[in-house]
Symmetry: C2
Subunit: 342 residues, 2 copies
DNA sequence: GCAGATTACGAAACGGTTTTCGGAAAACCT
DNA sequence: AGGTTTTCCGAAAACCGTTTCGTAATCTGC
């Protein structure tokens, strides 16, 4: 039987430790916290008593004095999705080292649920809030009159005075296009997803800028927008091949689209990267490493984003708030689908 | 600028509400909690004051009397992985309705880190613990002498007296094989992943049992073990076709393997599901729905698993602990890759 | 005007830690 | 030995905001 609520061993408190060590509570506290007014021998006795009882101090009681709870509230909008998880991991990582804990809530993209969760978290006296969006488009602010600092991650707040950490999608698009240019490609098509996503637009903008810097333009003059699916990648690639037989590179707005592109190219008997180089976005490992050939992709460094957001939140809690949007740079992860042109 | 810790509006307390409503703290408390000893007119005044101040009661202080914190600790071992997230979602879902909150920690498969997190969570006086594993194989118990109930999800505890909730992989394997049999398939190959995974073995066991019930056996006499990758799916399928040209169904241990199988079959000019039916496991949407044809798969109902685990944890917290392993059934999600044989 | 019901209030309790401050014991000096 | 300093330890207050208990005040009906 699981340790039930009745027969369960009690939680050990500082009083238990003090009793076992034969000292007062005050002395035990001072010994464990490295205060100086304790004899070394006594300190050792307290420490061994604490070890023996597996004592872990009651954080709530400790923070009673300081007025802080030592927890932050994390509201995510996309727990099942792919993008919030690495962000969450980075944040969790940044907590782990200190003695902050994370209260997790999933608002599922619903503003009402979000408000409800924020209220509940404030009721638990969190020291700060981190709001992780589902997609990179700006979102409405929670307002400036909250009693604790807030940091928005992935999806920035519309209010520029709020603190936001996002990915730099324009730069990401630029990185991809520059890589293609560096590989000696000159007839570069761009296939991307849902045009209502700011990220889709931004990546195209960045790619286009880089191509123009190299004296080129997107093949056909503009990017092909569609959906974030392999099917769209397949059909869009077929379209590109129909209009431009001599395409030598395809930049895709996501790894899914890139997988579709690779399939169509292989079925048409074209060699990747020999004839056509293919680049994805998001660096979704399971898609990129299983592709034939393995897929070069742009990684958004979401863990870094999460860590940065957490750090900014800590700073704000410590009394050093910062305003504005901070962008985290992406990085190229080269694999088999891109190579210098023979 | 983000509301800093100094200039921020104070958190409103019950005392603020009482002052604004012109009543005592005691009366305000009773009014908000629906106690009877309050005049209706007074109650309304308190409510409107609470609304006006956006009052949310301090949960920690409230639980001071009851001795409970209203939080549970959730330790996951696989935050970046695919399996713990739906479990976590189910658990979070079950919390949401009540007024429990979740403290999240990621132990990353490290036992030491796990102990550390458990200690930290106990220090926060969580009412219970939920341990979510990374893979379905049994794991060592945290022990029976913890001061709060524990439920193990996805990965069961080795101690049968602990409370565990897992997927029934034998039954899952059976469901898949029965589906193939129901489709009139008789020459059924099984390709699966890493043989050190209990789940891989169990699914094969279940499939084999179902086939024997139908008077059949796995094509070639035994399943092919390898890796959880598309590449293995491709090469293993090639192997199967080399030895058994007349195979009419392939059961794959994961959707990744199934994707590989589909690729090889298409390249050999075989029709799916006309010539060969293909079945995956895990129902990984992004893989299953983007496949050609879309992939029939077995869903482990992980959200249900998470909800069940949460429910059992609540029950234990309420004083009704249950021991032993509970299995959650999987379900078939039919898509385009399986169909009755013509 | 009085019993009984209703409504409101002051104060205690809840929890475990940190911290302050006073005092005891030991060490040191003359 | 006596005085002074240093070292070490313990009793008790403080911290938070809520709930609840006992009691007082007000109202209702006869």
């Amino acid at each position: 039987m699981q340790a039930g609520s009745s027969s369960s061993p009690k939680v050990t408190t500082l009083a238990d430790v003090a009793r076992l060590a034969g000292v007062s509570i005050a002395t035990a506290s001072k010994a464990l916290n490295g205060r100086s007014q304790v004899r070394e021998e006594t300190r050792q006795r307290v420490f061994s008593a604490a070890d023996q009882l597996q004592f872990s101090p009651n954080v709530l009681a400790r923070h009673l004095l300081s007025g802080r709870s030592g927890t932050i509230g994390l509201v995510t909008h996309d727990l099942e999705g792919r993008f919030s998880i690495p962000t969450l991991m980075g944040a969790e990582d940044a907590m782990g080292t200190g003695r902050m804990s994370v209260l997790l809530c999933d608002a599922r993209g619903d503003a009402l649920r979000e408000r409800h969760h924020v209220q509940a978290l404030l009721g638990r006296r969190v020291d700060g809030l981190m709001i992780v969006g589902a997609r990179p488009d700006p979102r409405s602010s929670l307002g400036r009159d909250l009693p604790v600092p807030v940091v928005y991650a992935y999806a920035p707040s519309e209010d520029p005075e709020d603190a936001s950490v996002v990915t730099d999608n324009v730069a990401a698009g630029r990185i991809g296009a520059e890589h293609m240019v560096a590989c000696g490609r000159e007839r570069i098509a761009v296939i991307t997803g849902d045009p209502t996503y700011g990220a889709a637009q931004d990546r195209v903008t960045g790619a286009q800028a880089a191509l123009r810097d190299a004296g080129l333009d997107i093949l056909g003059g503009s990017a092909l927008f569609g959906a974030w699916s392999e099917e769209w990648g397949r059909s869009a690639t077929a379209m590109v091949l129909g209009q431009h037989r001599d395409v030598d590179a395809i930049i895709c707005g996501s790894d899914q689209i890139a997988r579709g592109a690779l399939d169509t190219l292989r079925e048409r008997g074209l060699d990747v990267p020999g004839d056509v180089a293919v680049l994805g976005h998001d660096n979704w490992e399971v898609l990129a490493t299983n592709a034939r050939p393995t897929l070069t992709s742009i990684d958004m460094n979401l863990e870094t984003l999460g860590r940065r957001a957490a750090r900014r939140l800590f700073d704000a809690i410590e009394g050093h708030p910062t305003a504005g949007v901070e962008a985290v740079q992406s990085r190229l992860v080269p694999r088999g689908s891109t190579a210098p042109k023979a």
